[in-house]
């Protein structure tokens, strides 16, 4: 997979930002990104995060015959891996130029500075020594791999415990952790790398460059130092000419940064030691920040629930009592049945309300009159009533609908309860009419 190319506008913007003294993540020129150190469940396993750059360090040991020219010294072995998981541009199993450069720098920083006492790793001179292997895996690449890797390597070495051994004559016994507590490596000092990126032939200087800053920089200076202000390694790349003042300033900044990072490492190691002793929870899972992706989240609309109960009670008290419920099934036509009449729409055509009325009449076990007879009586009543009380209204169905209309039009989309109310109001109206008819 190819590396994502850097566009012209990014390059131009980054250089402009550097000139104005601004950085992408809001840091100042001499600011280091946040360093986070977390330990795995096993000894000698750690993850170091430098901003979004993550490096996993794992230390392992093994008894091997020593090198013939150094019969009394243990062997230190460092290996940094750049996997495609870190960035799509990295290819697996290939020794790229960058990887070789980084591996050499790590070795120079940690082995050649003699930070670990290799003579204490000897078991039987010339026959058996400990080989300490430090594997570093880049998990995510966001610039400044060398700093993160050097911190991860030294933290993993400090955290590591090797099994205890005893020599009795010719016999070498390796004790398991249950038999004898494993012993830590003897570490003299902790060298830590600090990188500086230079822009415009050394005019501008940035500490701890991010991935994009690394891509537009002119030159890089890496200084490895311990907290005693001893320079372990210094390397300049990119082929720029640096003024002496600039290098001195860099070494002063390095001293400050190394002091801070060393303190952080010691604090992290102490914390882990305490947690392990107390039997608390430890491991990577405990140290992963809880970040939630909110991109798919749907926020529900805010509802005011302050005086819901009062409002609901008010509505209930104001409402008409619900209609009687018919528990027995009602047959509209052969093959259909209805229990009760809950949510029936009151906006029906005339025939349906007529039928409803009919059904009710049957339910109340009134004397059944034939349809045509009733129609006749109704007709006569209209004529007679019209003369006596013209305002009390006729019984014509059409007019009934007209009266209800202005009330019901806005109610059309209301909920179940309101439609019930309408039903009841209509029913009472019908009943009244029926009574009137009976009186006649």
């Amino acid at each position: 997979m190819r590396e994502t190319p850097l566009s012209n506008c990014e390059r131009r913007f980054l250089l402009r930002a550097v000139r104005e003294g601004k950085r992408l993540d809001g840091r100042q020129c001499y600011d280091y990104r946040n360093v986070r150190i977390s330990f795995g469940p096993d000894r000698g396993c750690c993850v170091v995060e430098l901003g979004r750059t993550r490096v996993l360090g794992q230390v392992s040991c093994e008894l091997v015959p020593p090198k013939p020219n150094r019969a009394t010294e243990g062997i230190l072995f460092f290996n940094l891996e750049l996997s495609p998981m870190a960035a799509p541009g990295f290819e697996p199993g290939r020794q790229s130029e960058l990887l070789v450069k980084l591996n050499r720098l790590i070795e120079r920083c940690l082995r050649n500075s003699k930070c670990i006492d290799t003579e204490s790793l000897c078991v039987v001179a010339g026959e058996k020594v400990w080989q300490i292997r430090v594997d570093l895996h880049l998990l995510n690449h966001d610039g400044n791999i060398i700093d993160a890797a050097s911190i991860a390597a030294i933290v993993a070495l400090c955290h590591f415990r090797r099994p205890d051994v005893s020599v009795q004559g010719e016999e070498v016994t390796v004790y398991s952790p249950e038999e004898r507590d494993p012993v830590p490596l003897s570490i003299h000092h902790m060298p830590i790398c600090v990188s500086f990126a230079f822009f415009q032939q050394g005019t501008y200087l940035l500490v701890d460059p991010s991935e994009r800053e690394e891509r537009v920089m002119d030159g890089l200076l890496v200084i490895a130092m311990n907290k005693h202000r001893e320079i372990c390694t210094i390397q300049s790349s990119g082929g720029i000419m640096l003024v002496m003042d600039q290098v001195l300033r860099c070494s002063k900044i390095t001293a400050v940064k190394v002091a801070e990072i060393t303190e952080l490492i010691q604090k992290a190691l102490e914390n882990d030691q305490k947690v392990r002793k107390e039997g608390g929870k430890f491991g990577f899972a405990e140290s992963i920040p809880n970040q939630k992706i909110t991109a798919f989240k749907m926020e529900s609309a805010a509802v005011d629930t302050n005086n819901v109960e009062e409002q609901a009670e008010e509505i209930i008290t104001k409402a008409d009592p619900p209609s009687e419920v018919f528990a027995t099934p009602i047959l509209h036509a052969p093959g259909t049945a209805q229990i009760g009449e809950g949510i029936e729409n009151s906006w029906e055509d005339l025939e349906e309300s007529e039928r409803e009325e009919e059904v009710e009449e049957e339910g109340e076990s009134e004397a059944a009159t034939s349809e045509c007879q009733r129609m006749e009586t109704e007709d006569t009543s209209t004529i007679s009533k019209d003369k006596d009380e013209p305002i009390v209204l006729s019984d014509s169905e059409e007019e009934e609908v007209v009266i209800l209309e202005p009330q019901e039009v806005p109610n059309k989309t209301r909920t179940q309860t309101t439609s019930k109310q309408e039903n009841t109001s209509k029913k009472t109206f019908n009943k009244r009419r029926r009574k009137k008819r009976a009186a006649r």
């Binding site: 190319p5 566009s7 506008c9 913007f13 104005e20 992408l24 970040q291 992706i293 798919f296």
Partner: protein, 268 residues
């Protein structure tokens, strides 16, 4: 989530309607409602058997014999038919998932970086597995003589004409009527950065709150590509950086946190 558990324990088959809004996993089969009077072995003849509209099968889903086969894990989404757009007259199902790797889709508008000029085509990096090609004639008003001024490293906003898993994707910077309609070479200033595809979809949703709130701060230009790339240009470097950082942080911020952050900014 009770439903999700049931699904995992069972055969992994469930009705598509019931799974909308739920988490689906690769291998799940979503059953589509059978059309009345439609028999699989019978050819649909006459008007009564004709489907009401085509069902659109979005990202993360594949057709199979029983219905839809889920190929990505995420939340199942559904759009009701009749929401405009003739292609999805029968509604659309898709899986909303969190990913960073872009896969070209026909019609998507993306931001590409020119990596090479090869003869009469440009090669564009769009973040997919393969580079896309863009003909120099696919710009508004471009002719054999009148070539667009595009340099290697420039940004181009265009849409996919061909996006096929077996073929090289092809982009154009004109719509079907030959107009640019906003596409073409993006200016030399501004800044490009990348966010996850889920966030881009959220930002591109109509009436997106984030964009509306940001636009209250100060004027700026913004181009959102479906491939997760965002180009921003404001008056100063500082203002551009603020927009970049807010948009990057939106991935993990709730709306209240975002409102607080914006209130702090507008107060200054």
């Amino acid at each position: 989530m009770a439903e999700g558990g049931k699904m995992a324990a069972g055969s992994g088959k469930m009705a598509a309607e019931a799974a909308v809004g739920q988490v689906v996993l690769p291998g799940d089969v979503l059953l589509l409602p059978a059309r009345p009077g439609h028999d699989a072995e019978q050819l649909p003849l006459g008007s009564e058997a004709a489907p009401r509209g085509r069902l659109l099968c979005g990202p993360g889903l594949r057709r199979c014999a029983a219905g839809l086969l889920v190929t990505k894990c995420g939340l199942l989404r559904h759009r009701q038919p009749g929401g405009g757009g003739g292609a999805a007259a029968g509604g659309a199902y898709w899986v909303d998932s969190q990913q960073k790797r872009y896969v070209p889709v026909k019609g998507d508008q993306v931001i590409g970086i020119v990596t090479a000029r090869a003869g009469d085509v440009f090669r564009l990096d769009v973040g997919g597995s393969e580079q896309a090609s863009l003909s120099y004639l696919a710009f508004e008003g471009a002719t054999k003589r009148n070539r667009p001024n595009v340099q290697v490293g420039d940004l181009i906003y265009g849409q996919f004409l061909v996006a096929n898993k077996d073929m090289e994707p092809e982009m154009v910077c004109i719509d079907s009527s030959g107009k640019a309609s906003g596409m073409g070479v993006i200016g030399q200033d501004g800044f490009l950065f990348k966010v996850s595809l889920g966030l881009i979809r959220k930002l591109l949703a109509p009436k997106c709150e984030i964009i509306q709130e940001l636009s209250q701060l100060y004027p700026f230009e913004l181009v959102l590509g479906m491939n997760g790339r965002i180009w921003v240009k404001a008056k100063t470097v500082q203002q551009t950086l603020i927009i970049v950082n807010i948009l990057e942080a939106c991935e993990y911020m709730t709306s209240e946190q975002r409102k607080q952050a914006l209130a702090k900014l507008s107060g200054n």
